[in-house]
């Protein structure tokens, strides 16, 4: 180990379009912020916005990549930067080549005030008693009681957070790890009671149930679909009717009667997503569960989510600490940091501010 802190660095991507007109390529430049590591290797990947085309370079030392687009459209350029001790960090961005129809990449419009509010978070605070988290056995509890150590250190996971989400919006909730996103999500889902303030939700909520929660590894995919469907509150007849749709979306045709333990985690995520979106829920909660799927499947999910948003009835709540997906889909974003509501507003404004956090 070297004496410095070699981990304190971060790649930042920027695009240079100056050679696009004459030479036909876009340059992705990677700048390293912080303590620049002595050894650096760059692996560049690209993919088109519909995910059908993609490519990858060999590891190289150059901190820039000339991308020759196969056609007009939107492409995501990404760089994985690895330092001498094997730490890899990524930076990437979307580039636009030629005239691209805007609907290729759409966010729902920001609704006006008259639209129906489906999620109303009003001055919500969540306070955990640290003491209550610590005692897992009677012995520990009574020892603490005898020593008068039953102190109640307060920890505010959420501090006066307020926002409203209107019908038909795709609302993003961003924040770094431990910022309170998940706590907020649990309060909205109705499984955790807020300590202060009120949260009102109008309509049905469909979460993506992850591996190990509503799935049983020993049951087959078919049995799991019914189990999971029942947990989401679907009628049996409804599942019967839509079984084929779920199977088709999750691409499981030949695996229906295989126990789930033989499936990859990505396949399970596909089933979870297919079940949650087979009906038009009033509110769809999309969280990190989706990130286990490969990018082709993520594209498919994005399209389905956009279809749902396009129907005008479904509201999507997207929770993530990576902002690429949020940027691509959401019209408005709320940024929570250490329990405080740092910023709320149109996606571009909030994401720009959030990006600057790491710099």
């Amino acid at each position: 180990m070297s004496s410095q802190t070699p981990t304190n660095w971060m790649p930042v991507a920027s695009a240079d379009y100056t050679n696009l007109e004459e030479l036909g390529y876009v340059t992705l430049n990677i700048r390293i912020e912080g303590d620049v590591p002595a050894k650096r290797r760059f692996v560049y990947t690209w993919k088109s916005s519909n995910g059908t085309e993609h490519g990858q370079t060999d590891p190289q030392r150059l901190a820039s990549f000339n991308f020759l687009p196969p056609h007009d459209g939107r492409f995501f350029l990404n760089a994985d930067v690895t330092d001498g001790v094997g730490i890899t960090r990524s930076a990437g961005m979307w580039v636009k080549i030629g005239d691209v129809a805007e609907d290729d990449f759409k966010r729902p419009p920001i609704p006006d005030d008259s639209a129906q509010t489906v999620i109303d978070v009003d001055d919500v605070s969540m306070i955990f008693n640290m003491a209550s988290e610590q005692y897992n056995s009677l012995k520990e509890y009574f020892i603490a009681l005898a020593h008068h150590e039953l102190s109640f250190k307060e920890f505010r996971a959420l501090d006066h957070v307020s926002f409203e989400v209107k019908r038909g919006e795709a609302f993003g909730l961003v924040g770094t790890n431990g910022s309170g996103k998940s706590t907020m999500l649990k309060i909205i889902a109705g499984v955790l009671e807020a300590s202060e303030g009120t949260c009102t939700v109008t309509g049905s909520i469909a979460p993506l149930i992850e591996l190990g929660a509503g799935f049983d590894m020993d049951l087959t995919a078919r049995e799991n679909i019914y189990l999971n469907g029942s947990l989401l509150g679907y009628r049996k007849e409804f599942i019967d009717e839509h079984l084929a749709d779920i199977v088709e979306f999750a691409e499981l045709k030949d695996f229906m009667d295989m126990p789930l333990k033989n499936y990859s985690s990505g396949m399970v995520a596909r089933i979870a997503f297919a079940i949650a979106t087979v009906a038009e829920p009033d509110i769809l909660i999309v969280d990190e569960t989706l990130s286990v799927g490969d990018f082709l499947f993520q594209q498919k999910c994005m399209r389905r989510i956009q279809e749902l948003i396009g129907s005008g009835n479904v509201t999507v709540l997207l929770v993530s600490h990576s902002i690429e997906m949020v940027e691509a889909m959401c019209d408005r974003v709320c940024w929570i940091e250490k329990g405080h509501q740092r910023m709320i507003g149109p996606t571009d404004d909030v994401c720009a501010a959030y990006r600057n956090l790491g710099l």
């Binding site: 649990k186 009671e193 949260c199 189990l227």
Partner: protein, 273 residues
Amino acid sequence: MQTETKEIQPDGQSAWYPERQKSLYILRQLVTRDFKLKYRRSFLGVLWSVLNPLLMMVVMAAVFSTMMRFSSDSIPSYPLYIILGNVTFSLMSDSTSQGMRSIIDAASLLKKVRIKRWVFPLEKVLFAIVNFAFSLIAVLIVMLAVGVHPTWTALLLPVFLAYVGMFCIGLSLLLASLAVFFRDVIHLWSVVLTAWTYATPLFYPAEILPAWMLSLERFNPMYHFVNYARTLLLYQQVPSAMLNAACAFCGVAMLAIGILVFRKTEHRFILYI
């Protein structure tokens, strides 16, 4: 404050069940799951539900009637006496030890989806009752084998199940709540169950107990329940009003305590699971 959820579409043809039906359907799905998992990949499958109490009875009857020389003139058939005690007791011990863990096991689900929390302990009791129903086949086999033919008193079994069911649901709700806050309960309960097995006249005649212990049995709910089952199927009489009252009291009281504790504590479960 609890998040308030408003329903939008009460029309009959929606994709979702209303709240009450949803819980019922979940219960059914979970019982089906447990049932499938219990016998999946076993050669004899569901037959084990019948074989298991039968084999247990054979072992116990062999051990206790030949080695310990337990027998009594008041017991028309010792094997039937044992199997009735065993299946009744394992209905209670299965449902409570499973029900106790049910909330902890459903942790990842309860953190994400809004489901009635009582569904999980209740499901385990229902599953134990389904198993009990299968073990009744074993009881019937023993009855026919030893020449005690069932009479119309067997028709009172649903009453018996109602008493025991209430008791098991109450106890499971209570233990499930306690286990969430103190995991010690899980370890302690297996010891309690073992002690309870010996404290209840399951494989020995009640008469061998000294008078003071016999008088203590009044406070053992399982003593009453086991008595009730034996009255119906072994002695083939209508249980006395006293026995009915004792069983009903145990069932209702336990259910009330369980519901009370569960409702008081359930909103804090998520902080501990």
